[in-house]
């Protein structure tokens, strides 16, 4: 069953590709897994009205975010027969080209892993109290807005 205590999902700064490779490697012992689905969010050099984005600074209400993430995890495990589900989200500054969100769902068959991964990504964007401040080269900023 699921842990009672919400797991931490936050790390300070960007998520390194090397860590992602290591996380994948750690799943090779779980020989019942047949399919992994991964989503990664990467900070874009968007052209805003006032300049080009060079980083996003993420802030959160950590206790509320972890509690809601726990609710999402429980709902996803109840809905899909997953082997495991790992989520990491950055806080603080993440530069353009770096990874700020990593969702990793594994299952016996592909359909469950793919559907669960997508649903987790959508719910994270809609339901977790996290805010992204887009910082431009000229030090102006704009608050990120998520697409529906």
């Amino acid at each position: 069953m699921l842990d009672k205590k919400p797991k931490n999902i936050f790390i300070q700064g960007a998520i390194s590709p090397q860590k992602i490779g290591e996380d994948i490697a750690h799943h090779q012992k779980k020989t019942q897994i047949g399919a992994h689905s991964i989503f990664m969010g990467q900070v874009r050099a968007d052209e805003l009205l006032n300049g080009v984005v060079e980083a996003i600074e993420y802030t959160t209400h950590e206790a509320m975010a972890l509690e809601q993430m726990h609710v999402i995890r429980e709902a996803i495990f109840a809905k899909y027969p997953l082997t495991c589900l790992h989520i990491t989200h950055s806080l603080g500054r993440v530069n353009v080209g770096e990874i700020c969100l990593f969702v990793f769902a594994s299952a016996v068959h592909r359909k469950e892993a793919i559907d669960a991964c997508e649903e987790v990504v959508e719910r994270i964007k809609k339901e977790l109290p996290i805010w992204g401040k887009e910082i431009c080269h000229n030090k102006t900023h704009q608050w990120k807005e998520n697409r529906a």
Binding site: G41, Y58, T59, T60, H61, A63, M64, E67, H89, C100, L101, V121, I124, K125, K126, E127, L128, P129, I130, W131, G132, K133, W143, K144, E145, N146
Partner: protein, 80 residues
């Protein structure tokens, strides 16, 4: 009575800090009453879109506050 106010996202652009302890004399107030007091002191807050969470639960404008509550003002989320 005193509540602890927390501000997030674009609200931090119009507030002097991300946290504010807010006192008043007398009876309990609703979230709506509290916001009206805040709007008087920080008129730029008035045009903003946000939801209110008290002690980490979203509440309606009529919710009655208790001394010691944490009141978080949260604009639309933009994680990921």
């Amino acid at each position: 009575m005193q509540v602890r106010l927390l501000f997030f996202g674009n609200l931090t652009d119009v507030m002097p800090s991300t946290m504010l302890d807010w006192d008043w004399n007398g009876d309990g107030k609703t979230v709506n009453d509290l916001l009206n007091m805040l709007y008087s002191s920080y008129p730029k807050l008035k045009g903003k879109t946000f939801r209110v969470a008290v002690n980490q639960q979203f509440v309606a404008m009529e919710y009655g506050l208790t001394s010691g509550d944490e009141v978080a003002l949260m604009p639309p989320f933009s994680g990921g």
